[in-house]
Amino acid sequence: EDQVTQSPEALRLQEGESSSLNCSYTVSGLRGLFWYRQDPGKGPEFLFTLYSAGEEKEKERLKATLTKKESFLHITAPKPEDSATYLCAVQVAGYALNFGKGTSLLVTP
């Protein structure tokens, strides 16, 4: 059975304290791995898509990487506005996205 596990469940950082969020997956035939950001009361906001091991993508303070078993979302020098829940999803066949439960990030001033 395809599984997506995100860790940690919750993370508290001080402003400027860099860290990484993990998304590990066990799927057969990964078509793509997606990262989303979700603020309270809102729908998920698309961040990145990664298609193959070794691929990396960056956007402002965020950098996503992919290996054959996991993906990392690195957050460099985070700011309070980076506080949100970060969701990882894998796509195996067709169109369905299989989501993890997310990592709730809180960045304090």
Binding site: V4, R31, G32, F34, Y36, G41, K42, G43, P44, E45, F46, T49, L87, A89, Q91, G94, Y95, A96, L97, N98, F99, G100, K101, G102
Partner: protein
């Protein structure tokens, strides 16, 4: 990206009633989807809304409980039928141009069933 709106944004409904949620996109899209996000759980795909034909449902979801319409390339509805408290959740629509591309999500509809 696409601008997606959902109506209503939230509702409180009584057990046994039905609620229809609307999803409107600002441009034509190939694929539209409906998800459920229950407290403490992962986002789960309910079905793919197909234009001009019956929706494609994921395992565990059935048409009698979640009828879906998609009359054109910019609009879809999801009905939650004969509701019970277990249906209390956030319901989200999403869109994509092609199956392998990223999906963009609407703001969600927060449903509480009493």
């Amino acid at each position: 990206s696409a601008v997606i709106s959902q109506k209503p944004s939230r509702d409180i409904c009584q057990r046994g009633t039905s609620l229809t949620i609307q999803c409107q996109v600002d441009s034509q899209v190939t694929m539209m989807f409906w998800y459920r996000q229950q407290p403490g759980q992962s986002l789960t795909l309910i079905a793919t809304a197909n234009q001009g034909s019956e929706a494609t449902y994921e395992s565990g979801f059935v048409i009698d409980k979640f009828p879906i319409s998609r009359p054109n390339l910019t609009f879809s509805t999801l009905t939650v039928s004969n509701m019970s408290p277990e249906d209390s959740s956030i319901y989200l629509c999403s869109v994509a141009r092609e199956s392998r591309e990223e999906q963009y999500f609407g703001p969600g509809t927060r449903l509480t069933v009493t």
